[in-house]
Amino acid sequence: MASPQSTDFNPLAGLAALVFPGLGHLVLGRTKRAVLVCIGVMGLFLFGLLAGGIDAIDDRNDKIWFYGQALVGAPTLVVNYIHQNHFKAADPNNPGIIRSGYPGEHRVVQNGQAVWQPLTEAQIASGMGPPNVPGLGRINEIAMLSIVLAGMLNLIVFLDALMPSPEKTPRPSKAEGGNA
């Protein structure tokens, strides 16, 4: 582990910052900054998921947004994997199309492949439906934006971990007897 004052180019810290937010600064020995960065980036990330649901991360339908979101690192990739493999299924009329469920559909796995199946009126009335409700309109925009902001913030964090800026101690003020 590098010393807290180290300002050398540090590829290990940069790599760690890409794996999980704050890990790069932890490698640098800057624990306070690591905690603050983790709260900031993961706060934005989890807030986006809370607002828009799991549908806020989708590398098939929102590819451009996903590039920004992927800058958060492993959390985005894990959530996207879960979304694609446990919440999406094939269209019953066109099995080549993998999509989210519509209201009145139910996800079933047949011969190892997930497919959407229409529900009967009685099943819908009993509360059955797709496994998630996708975000629409402004809520979806805010959710995706929040996770992209988390990614952009993590890019700044990554650069700071890769090429650390020096830790400065504040100058004493006039009241403390310092020379201003």
Partner: protein
Amino acid sequence: MITLAYTPFIDALPLHDGWYLLIVPMTIFLAIGYKGVRCTHLNRYPRELAIFIVQILGVIALLAIAFLILINYLVPLLAPMPT
């Protein structure tokens, strides 16, 4: 059985009328992370954090007021709609 009840982190938040309120927590998290890296002296962190949050929310509020005036008063003056 899978029900249609709201599940946090899985379903979208049913907050369509108050979506703009979501800007506030987003700004706070952004400021916490940004100032965690860019604040030169961590003993000044709380003050710089508070200033940054107020700056972002203040500019967004000013932009909202400016666009409100533009859309509701200036655009109708420039291109009046037939009554």
